[in-house]
């Protein structure tokens, strides 16, 4: 009886030793040499895989940085600090970047925009967009929050009026919300821009006004009043700001009848300010 136990213990031990030897050999022989800098870069990145750099994830971006295919400033989520850290690891000039922010270019919420039907399909913006949506305006915000779902930095919420809000302090400018929006209402802009047309409606004035109280009615007053000639142009019944000409003053917005063009008036909310005084959802 004892003999059986000893034989089995010894044989199992021997098999184990052989296997262990094989594993040690395999580990040495098949070892993959990895540049230690990839690990360092990976640690320096936010590792949220937001996709703002244009690569599928942080690891792939780190590899692209190593190959010299990407610039340290491409990591929009990390900002200047990350860029400096990455440049330190890679031994290159960091360069500087402008902070980008998401801007929601529609103010036609539940209170302003006419609703013409009830939408009962799948509650995502893209699905609703395929049916034309429930608002009479077919260019405006669908209000189902696909942008908020796409945000990985807790920098957005849907407000009581059914419009998305971007938190100034949390937005890293990755652009995930802008990519998620089926109607291209969210755009990425440098944080120092102040002049925005908060409308995407291309309908003629009378119809646009009928369907939404804050639609661009293509009256052309902002175009006339703009201090820089050509700084604002009327394209397909919609005022469009030409940022390359950088209109720097606010005259253009004063006479807007629907207040859809604004100069830095859209309040920049921080996350804490938004949630203070309201129960957390």
């Amino acid at each position: 009886m004892l003999e059986t136990l000893i034989i089995s213990a010894v044989s199992m031990g021997a098999i184990g030793a052989v296997m262990a030897g094989f594993l040690i050999y395999a580990d040495r022989k098949l070892k993959v040499e990895e540049d230690p800098r990839v690990e360092a870069i990976s640690n320096a990145l936010p590792n949220t895989n937001c996709g703002g750099c244009g690569y599928p994830g942080c690891r792939v971006f780190a590899e692209a940085l190593m190959k010299g295919e990407a610039l340290p400033t491409a990591c929009v989520a990390g900002g200047n600090d990350t860029a400096a850290a990455l440049a330190g690891i890679l031994g290159v000039e960091a360069g500087s970047m402008k902070r980008m922010l998401a801007v929601v270019l529609c103010r036609g919420g539940n209170a302003e925009a006419e609703r013409r039907a009830e939408y009962r399909g799948d509650m995502t913006c893209t699905a609703s967009h395929l049916t034309g949506g429930d608002k009479s305006c077919t260019y405006g915000c669908l209000g189902l929050g696909e942008c908020v779902d796409a945000c990985k930095f807790d920098a957005m919420a849907m407000n009581d009026n059914g419009l998305p809000v971007v938190f100034y302090d949390k937005c890293v400018g990755c652009g995930a919300c802008a990519r998620a929006c089926p109607r291209d209402i969210i755009e990425m802009h440098p944080e120092d821009r102040k002049l925005f047309v908060y409308c995407k409606n291309l309908d003629k004035g009378a119809y646009a006004r009928k369907v939404c109280k804050v639609a661009c009615v293509a009256c052309g007053l902002c175009v006339k009043d703009c201090s820089v000639p050509g700084g604002i142009v009327m394209k397909n019944n919609l005022a469009v700001v030409d940022y390359s000409l950088a209109p720097q003053t606010d005259e253009s917005v004063k006479r807007c009848p629907t207040k859809c063009i604004l100069w830095g008036e859209e309040e920049k909310v921080t996350r804490d300010a938004y949630y203070s005084g309201r129960p957390k959802a």
């Binding site: 013409r116 039907a117 893209t126 395929l130 034309g132 077919t138 260019y139 119809y207």
Partner: protein, 444 residues
Amino acid sequence: MGHRTFERGIHPSYYKELTSGKRVEPAALPRTVVIPLQQHAGTPCEPLVKKGETVQEGQKIGDVKAFVTAPVHASISGKVKDIELANHPNGYRCASVVIEGDGSLRQWGSDGKVVDIGALQPEAVRQAIREAGIVGLGGAAFPSSVKLSPPKGKAVDTVILNGCECEPYLTADHRTMVEEPEKVVWGLKALMRASGAARGFIGIEENKPDAIDALTRALSGSPEIGITVLEAKYPQGAEKMLISAAVGRKVPPGKLPFDVGVLVNNVGTAVAVFEALNWGKPLIERVVTISGNGVREPKNLRVRVGTLFGEVIDQCGGLVGSEIEVLNGGPMMGNSQSTLAVPVTKGTTGITVISADEIQVRPYEPCIKCGNCVEVCPMGLMPYRLGDYGKLQMTAEISALDGLSCLECGCCSYVCPAKRPLIQWIRVGKLKLRQEARKAQGAK
């Protein structure tokens, strides 16, 4: 049973008795029409008229230099009130020509002469079909002239006329076959002549015996054309299903019917071909079935393109109640409308109005992997997985599972016991996939 058919599919309730016995009536002449410049699959037209211009019924008002397109024509005589963005039944705002009518009517084909088929030149037929703006009237609105111009090396040997009309409620094609069988047959012969095909088939589901009788009579003395009676099953009228049932050929994924030597056209299209070649009448009106329990008096109407849904429904006694769902097309494939101020287009096979007591709203539940959707998918896809991938917008997986082959027939959503909106998700996924492909092409 015992009739030819395809694999899988479903047997929904058809509700065709609401309108199948009703003659097609001409709709009242609309005072104003809104004619979208895109009513077909392909490049949108550019307007050829200006605001304030006087137009005649049948005058070409929009065209573009492109291969896959079809011109649009004024459906009433009158004055161009405006060219502006207007609601389109597909849910977006489309550049449209608004015409205010003067009440005059033009007579088409009053001399009653019919051209001899043997005298037709294939190229001239193709050109006439293009100029008449004829598109497939089965719903997809694919330009018919493009179907008649297969790429070099691809020959068409069989023309199939699609008279299945498998979509519940709709009876427009059924009535067309019963009331105008001679025109259908003439149109089919012209299409065979233009494509060089020697054989012709008319595929009809077994549940339309009067249409089968009418066409059999009209076909006496035409041995090259046969009637294929098919099982009443949905989606029998889908192009690929019809080809496999009628001639036993399978169209490979991503390929078109002419890759297997077949040309499929709707019976309504054949009538439009007859009217274009004999009367010079462009496609300015079509038969529309207005049906469902949400409309007081279901009817088959010959409606001018550009007539608003609201006006058409008013001629059928109006809506019953306010909580209704209005669909452009039938209940399986039609898309729901958020307003009645949308025009009837060339692709409007019907207007289905579902009443409040027929609408079931209930939240969907998790997939229990029962496999019902896989069992019914006529394309042999895996809708439960495509649905999830579409919901999550995972485009690579959708394309790996051949999601673009999906016909959006709706069988999967119909049978799903958890009431998952599979088709809507798959549509989202296909949209994202196409957007990505376009972006990739633009980057190159």
